[in-house]
Symmetry: none
Subunit: 118 residues, 2 copies
DNA sequence: TCAATTTGCGTACTTTACTTAGCGACTTCC
DNA sequence: GGAAGTCGCTAAGTAAAGTACGCAAATTGA
């Protein structure tokens, strides 16, 4: 049945990437989420299935909705949205002026197209 | 901070009511969900916080969407909130590399904070 | 009436989640 | 040259999740 071992590795990799994006060390994230740092290390390598308590603490520390982590863990059916709707998010963001939106969209498109020609 | 002790009892009571609604004994439900029957008994009385694996197995056995049980356990926000969420969209965008994400996030935060002091 | 099952639960045990302590491989700074 | 800090990780322990076994109080049914 191959099991959820793959899901665990996926979740771990996701946590690691989000932690690095937030520029946090394992110890810093552990402190924010009130966990031990070796356990964060073990989770990132997919050695354990975290409890819901832990997932909620991690998502809070990483400023992510808990649903996103749960979905990564394969715990939630896809009924929770979340597509890479970056462009739409920028356009709909009331915290940005129109010219700021244009600037970000241009930067974004530049990044994406430069990646495609890789 | 007795905290989630109430949530646990609520979840247990909910499981029990759903099980009876389906006309199942604890042993039958346990077999369907591949659990031991004393454990089902313990869960219904709120003695333990089940893992996600167990919640999923129970919801499948009871023909309920997992989200319903998770909400009963207080694990899920009541709905999919989502504000602007531009940051989350950027972070989740698989079309961007990590350094590109960092760059866009920095630009974005710069815009937002400059607007606030206006 | 009285076996024979079935119900839910107490208890002791195993397994897994999670922590405390510490190691080796870098850095940084004197 | 170090000392001193930080990084991710291993190893060994504790605590909590989950199971195996059995018991007493209901049911069923002859």
């Amino acid at each position: 049945m191959s099991e959820n071992a793959e899901d665990l590795k996926g979740l771990g990799a996701f946590i690691r990437s989000q932690r690095r994006l937030a520029e946090l060390s394992q110890r810093e994230l552990a402190k924010l989420a009130k966990l031990s740092d070796p356990y964060v290390s073990q989770l990132e390598r997919g050695l354990h299935e975290p409890s819901v308590r832990v997932v909620k603490a991690l998502s809070a520390a990483l400023n992510l909705p808990a649903e996103v982590l749960m979905k990564q863990a394969g715990w939630l059916g896809l009924e929770i949205e979340e597509e890479p709707e970056t462009e739409a998010a920028i356009r709909n963001d009331s915290n940005l002026t129109n010219s700021q939106k244009s600037a970000m969209l241009e930067i974004y498109k530049g990044f994406v197209s430069s990646n495609e020609t890789k």
